[in-house]
Amino acid sequence: MTMRPTLAVWKFASCDGCQLGILDLEDELLSLVGAVQIASFTEMTSAVIDGPYDVSLVEGSITTPDDADRILAVREASGLLVTIGACATAGGIQALRNYADVGEYTSTVYAHPEYITTLAESSPISSYVKVDFELRGCPINRYQIVEVVTALLAGRRPVIPGYSVCEECKMAGNLCVLVAHGTACLGPVTRAGCGALCPAVNRGCYGCFGPADTTNTASLARRLTELGTSERGISRLFRTFNSAATEFSKESLEHDA
């Protein structure tokens, strides 16, 4: 029993949705917590075991000076560090502040901006520390957590696709919404992993898994223009859930009105 590897889950700026995915593994949860020792996971347990931890799962982005320090301590205490979700791997939706003046944002939301300490940018974990593996998605696909934890414990590389949603969409047998309906869709440039959920409900992909391994955002943007999407529409499409991911950020700036 004492040989069970320890697993810790950490939260930074986020919505809790990615870690909730772990609790949503209803069929696997009790065997998962049997295979590892949960050493820290505040959403689930008040028990805390001191580090070091064999594997740390990190949700959320870095947005405050305190969190910038805390992630260094987490890295220090962790054998392997895996980021989970768009917040942790690409700054998340809160990275929209990176395109604005945070001082103005603070006074829009808070009556006393002087009580709020915040950084100008929302940054992915990898801007601060070395990350061993990244899981994408807003939220992550919970089965990818099972794969990553199982693979890391077995000492092999996790099998997580780097190809695009388009491929996943074909495999799912969906009708292509872009070709058939002229719907704006980020599938060609977005990383697979969700199971092509949006096209399955006749909707264009909105890119919540971030850029695929290889992307041609410019050519997709040209196609979207032909389909009648406005410049502002294209910019927003690339600038929502993964706006700080390099490829998406670049393309959104190209179309910034």
């Binding site: 909730l20 069929d27 959403e43 689930m44 947005t63 808070y110 959920l197 409900v201 909105y206």
Partner: protein, 435 residues
């Protein structure tokens, strides 16, 4: 936890008040045997949703605001849709309303099952988590996980995904599910309904501290059914308002050292939203079977004991399963799945009942649909002052308890209201100072 001092002047610090959604802290100070101060602080890093919504399009809030909270994304999506539709003067057809309600039942089922079994029940058994509880009572935890899973399945079928559903849009849905997809849910939902009756019996046996609070209740109310996705906002002291009117009489205060705003009604005391409020104001609209189950569990028409909120939550869990069965049985696919919502200049508000309380959003749009201002009132920022006053009562009634017992009871008093700190901004750290 770091207890110190004698029993008249004590200091307790607990780092890591667990099993709530988000991070924050609770500070309690007792001096000369008298409670001096209770502060619930919320330290979720600010994410500035109200700010970055400005300049976005009117069709975007359902997807964007969902990301405020992974535990109640449907609540955010539904309140956002209602607010934007209100601003644009659009009324969705009845079949859209029914499918929204069905989706929302999924969120109530998954969130209530999560809270009852994984977050709240362990406290009543002195366990640190559901895994420990599973060691004592595996059947209960497995039952909780089974019920929760059905809620998630329902959200996956109707919403396309359980966390941050993709099928919701202003005006309705991207695709109405087929009859077969919905029919396949009926049997699992009936099973979950059975198991939620067992849940009510299970939680009714817990040992509850004997405390009653003098709450001012606020909830959405609907004449025809237990309000979830639509209704007027009512209170136990006579408020009867549209979401727009309610937004106008509520104020949010920003207190030091917190990234959440506290909501209050102008010139009135704090109020409570959530299961206790809904049950007190709307229990007459619960189906007879749910009322019978509540009576059997010992609930009267109003429950003012915050610890017993777990029973009310179980009754609502039963209700949500029952309602989902009914809606699924009556479901007919419809076309188009959404009505157009052409933008117009104006202001609109929408309120719905998130599992943990009322969630209100208000938007101001320009003629082309660009958002000019956004306001979001999550349940936890509305409940925060009532939670603090619960804790005051718990501490005053428990000054003779040991630090460890008192701390545990304070933590439980926070969990009673299933606060979502990611919503209110984020929390998790208790300190009791008796010096």
């Amino acid at each position: 936890m770091t207890p110190s001092g004698d029993s008249a002047n004590r200091a307790i610090d607990v780092h890591g008040l667990a099993r709530v959604e988000g991070e924050g802290s609770l500070h309690v100070a007792v001096r000369d045997g008298v409670l001096e101060r209770v502060e619930l602080e919320i330290f979720e890093p600010p994410r500035f949703f109200e700010a970055f919504l400005v300049g976005r399009g009117h069709e975007e809030p359902p997807d964007i605001t969902a990301r405020i909270c992974g535990i109640c994304p449907v609540a955010y999506q539904m309140s956002a849709c209602a607010a934007i539709e209100d601003a644009c003067g659009v009324q969705v057809p009845a079949e859209v309303g029914r499918l929204r309600r069905l989706l929302y039942c999924g969120e109530w089922i998954q969130s209530h099952a999560l809270h009852i079994y994984l977050l709240h029940a362990p406290d009543f058994f002195g366990c640190r988590d559901a895994v420990e509880l599973a060691g004592l009572n595996p059947a209960a935890v497995e039952r909780g996980l089974r019920i929760k899973k059905v809620g998630n399945q329902l959200m996956e079928v109707v919403g396309g995904r359980a966390i941050h559903p993709v099928n919701v849009r202003i005006g309705g849905f991207y695709r109405a599910p087929s009859r077969e997809e919905i029919t396949a849910l009926i049997e699992p939902l009936k099973k979950a309904r059975e198991e939620s009756l067992e849940t009510i019996r299970f939680v009714a046996t817990f040992d509850f501290p004997d405390i009653e609070a003098d709450y001012r209740f606020v909830a959405l109310s609907h004449p025809d059914h237990y309000a979830i996705e639509a209704g007027r906002i009512m209170s136990s002291d006579g408020i009867d308002a549209t979401p727009m009117e309610f937004a106008a009489i509520s104020v949010e205060e920003h207190v030091q050292r917190s990234s959440a705003l506290h909501a209050r009604l102008r010139g009135r005391d704090p109020y409570l939203t959530g299961p206790l409020a809904r049950y007190a104001l709307n229990q007459a609209t619960l189906p007879q079977t749910a009322r019978d189950a509540a009576a059997e569990a010992g609930l009267g028409p109003v429950c003012r004991n915050p610890f017993k909120s777990v029973i009310v939550r179980a009754v609502e869990l039963y209700f949500a399963c029952d309602e989902a069965v009914r809606l699924a049985e009556e479901y007919e696919p419809f076309e188009p799945a959404a009505v157009p919502v052409p933008p117009q200049a104006g202001t609109g508000a929408g309120a719905t009942e998130a599992p943990r309380g009322m969630l209100l959003q208000r938007y101001e749009l320009s003629a082309d649909g660009t958002i000019k201002s956004a306001r979001i009132m999550p349940p936890t920022s509305q409940n925060q002052l009532s939670i603090e006053s619960d804790i005051r009562q718990v501490v005053e009634a428990g000054l003779d308890l040991s630090d460890a017992e008192l701390t545990a009871r304070c933590e439980l008093a926070v969990r009673n209201h299933d606060p979502c700190i990611s919503c209110a901004a984020h929390f998790l750290d208790v300190s009791i100072d008796r010096s």
